[in-house]
Symmetry: C2
Subunit: 203 residues, 2 copies
């Protein structure tokens, strides 16, 4: 089994590294240098037609993309500790939180990065007014997440889960692009400190 | 168990109706009228803090949102026929295809609808140049999906799955907002005809 990825700050490869660290599984990542455009090479496109990272290659040559889907597969190989839930309801709830974080927070963060960040301006045509319009959407999503975290230890409830991995990688990526959470979001801040204190967070 | 939803063309409630039809499960949908803003009422926000549809309410009052997550939960109650895969690899592959369709096709379709469609212009401030820039992204995604469907019966392989439900609801929604697939995408066209011929498609 081979894992192709890229270092921080890319949030998606980090999710898989965090997941592996939580499982205590050693699966070294083969770096595909995004700055050199290696993810768009024909070699990597044969593994992932969209030229994305991370990608997992099984021993029979089957490839699997999408960070969350890769982690789902790894969960089936290494079920303990469960990070996608045990019961049907837990699994659905964790899945819901993954999707909520991605649709509410990651999408506007990504749109800001794509359309308003100076780094991306060097690479692609931007719609900066639209890009900037995502700044209040990110703030609104962070405030919503703060309210949802009231009285909870982890995003999906009592157990640390894939939803926390997705959320931490997203909140940290938002910070990297200049969208740090505003002051006063104490539930979010405390959760982020708890999640960041885990050994997996440095992955 | 109560299911709150809305009629076509809203793609997300339709997914759950299609899923229930494929399972042969009768769970009537309680309509929440989006045009009257009922989904943003305090009554519905108590079920879903984001005011979204669909939402499932269990008999103990637990609520579950996100169409795909609701269907995951229903799969645990009604496992046959499996629509999220049987093996760990199948489950990961179906999850990957759900995510690919959503990120590659649904997001730009939604951005076009949000920022370039005349209907939305009556309701919200738009960034129309950005909105229009999603038109070629949708076309690119449809062409990519057409290539990926070469030699395949269903999106994730040999078995009809949740990925087909997500893809059909998305392709149909794209058509509804004026982004029908261009001519010549024969694999996509044949797949869409197969999926649309199933009784669940009218849900």
């Amino acid at each position: 089994m081979k894992l192709y990825g890229e270092r921080m700050p890319a949030p998606n490869p980090r999710r898989v590294r965090m997941f592996l660290a939580e499982k205590g599984v050693d699966l070294p990542e083969i770096r595909v240098d995004m700055r050199k455009g290696e993810h768009k090479s024909s070699e990597h496109r044969a593994r992932n037609s969209l030229g994305q990272l991370p990608t997992l290659e099984l021993d029979d040559g089957t490839t699997l993309s999408e960070s969350v889907s890769i982690c789902r597969y790894l969960e089936s190989l290494y079920p303990e500790p469960p990070l996608f839930g045990r019961t049907g309801l837990e699994q659905a709830q964790i899945d819901m939180w993954i999707r909520r974080v991605e649709f509410q927070l990651l999408i506007p963060t990504g749109m800001f990065w794509r359309h308003a960040h100076p780094f991306t301006a060097q690479l692609l045509e931007q719609h900066t007014t639209f890009g900037e319009s995502n700044r209040p959407l990110v703030e609104r999503a962070l405030k919503w997440l703060d309210r949802e975290l009231a009285g909870k230890t982890w995003i999906a409830g009592e157990a640390y889960s894939m939803a926390d991995i997705v959320a931490l990688s997203t909140v940290d990526f938002a910070g990297f692009v200049g969208l740090e959470p505003p002051e006063g979001l104490e539930n979010l801040k405390a959760w982020r400190e708890r999640a960041s204190a885990r050994p997996s967070a440095v992955a």
